[in-house]
Symmetry: none
Subunit: 267 residues, 2 copies
């Protein structure tokens, strides 16, 4: 745990409002994805369900982080004072160890690979993702720049294998996607990789000479933005792919979904 910094009211409020923004965005994305399950065919419901779960888990953790932030400081007459209570940043790693493997699973599920290929690839990517998050943690809680760099480098190994898998390992499978959805699936890989690049960058902020309150604010706001893009943004993208593929595979079925089961049975 890092020693907490003394913050100005503006710095405290910027983190406070970013954390609340993350709760609102991830919570709204959860409801959007759960409701939108009804608009995709049965083949893609699990991908959309898991996208919603990732946002739900993240909004739960942001609610916890927000409360922990509020408890760690007291504000009176625009002066911010440390209360002595810890700010529990570990919520982020607890969140990632659960949500990051689910994010790669979303992508593989929405691709709907034949036979064992899907579950094999999903398992491999999920295990790599767990190793990546687990290796980042010992660096994150360390105050030594040397230790931070070592675990940063170690976590980059599974990260690079994941990038390789997404771009080389999935190349054939993307070629087999329906034409309408191919561009979207390919873009989803890019979104995953580009949003994940935020994390190692935010991680190195304190090692690049950004220290003190600026570093605290940068880390909290940076991770919040990264989580919103990688979870809510990516989730809405997964829904768009699922809707497009559902329509391509069965235009009539989708219309039936809109009119509930009665119309289908009556025919």
């Amino acid at each position: 745990m890092h020693p907490l910094e003394n913050l100005t009211f503006g710095q405290y409020s910027f983190v406070y409002n970013s954390l609340s923004f993350a709760i609102a965005t991830l919570g709204a994305a959860t409801i959007f994805l759960f409701l939108s399950r009804s608009q995709v065919s049965v083949n893609y419901k699990s991908a959309v369900t898991i996208s919603g779960l990732v946002c739900l888990i993240a909004s739960y953790h942001y609610y916890r982080i927000f409360n922990s932030w509020e408890a760690a400081y007291s504000v009176a007459n625009n002066v911010v004072t440390k209360t002595g209570q810890p700010f529990n940043d570990a919520y982020r790693y607890v969140d990632w160890i659960l949500t990051v493997p689910l994010l790669v699973t979303e992508l593989i599920l929405v691709m709907r690979l034949p036979g064992k290929e899907g579950s094999n690839k999903a398992t491999r990517l999920a295990v790599l993702a767990v190793i990546m998050v687990a290796l980042g943690y010992p660096g994150e809680i360390s105050n030594s720049a040397g230790t931070r760099w070592i675990f940063w480098a170690l976590a980059m190994i599974p990260f690079l294998i994941i990038v390789f898998d997404l771009f080389v390992g999935l190349k054939d499978a993307i070629g087999r996607q329906p034409e309408d959805a191919r561009g979207l699936v390919s873009a989803a890989r890019w979104i995953l990789v580009l949003t994940w690049c935020f994390y190692p960058i935010v991680f190195v902020l304190p090692m690049l000479g950004l220290s003190g309150p600026g570093s605290t604010v940068g880390i909290q706001v940076g991770y919040s933005v990264a989580d919103i893009l990688a979870k809510a943004g990516f989730g809405v993208f997964i829904y768009a792919i699922a809707a497009k593929k559902s329509e391509a595979e069965n235009p009539q079925g989708l219309r039936d979904a809109g009119y509930a089961s009665a119309g289908a049975v009556a025919r």
Copy 2:
């Protein structure tokens, strides 16, 4: 952050009750819109879902604003005293940066423009909306009337472009709406523009000589009324358009949806 004013019990309660009214109205609109999704065809479900999300995000923020207002003052024997805790007004801007682009997206989605036209127009309007809100914030947190006027004027530029887009850019698209829904869609534009006019008016209240407690009460009650009309009112209107268009496109399907599976079994 403005210095908090000393308020009478009546002034304090007026804001307090307005904020609670906003929680109730926006919360009720959320549930109405989520439940009513089942009464529109699959083509319009996303428009109604997003209308509900806007109300949900706003009711979350009103809950936070209400709690912040309660914490900033203590009341004993009808005397209102400042506690020294900040009243976090920034929640409004955190809310708008998320909900205002979604409001224009609702309108474009319910119009169901062909091909890329819809996503192009929605993206353009959403970006303009984000710029508009972002330009308002530096003015809102300033106590200088000069600074407030500058950012007010800057935020009016994207606002006027949005108005132009809605009335000139969407003219053709409105002509292509089904006859039954054309009047409603045209009216929705008017509601959007007229309710949005509240915000720049409330913003200038303190610059027009309305100062002290009257200004605080005017801003809080004014923004609450504006949010209720622009989000709950507009959302219900979007649902009405969606229901009318669903019926026009497939009267039988809609009746089936209304009767769900029970009707199917009976047949």
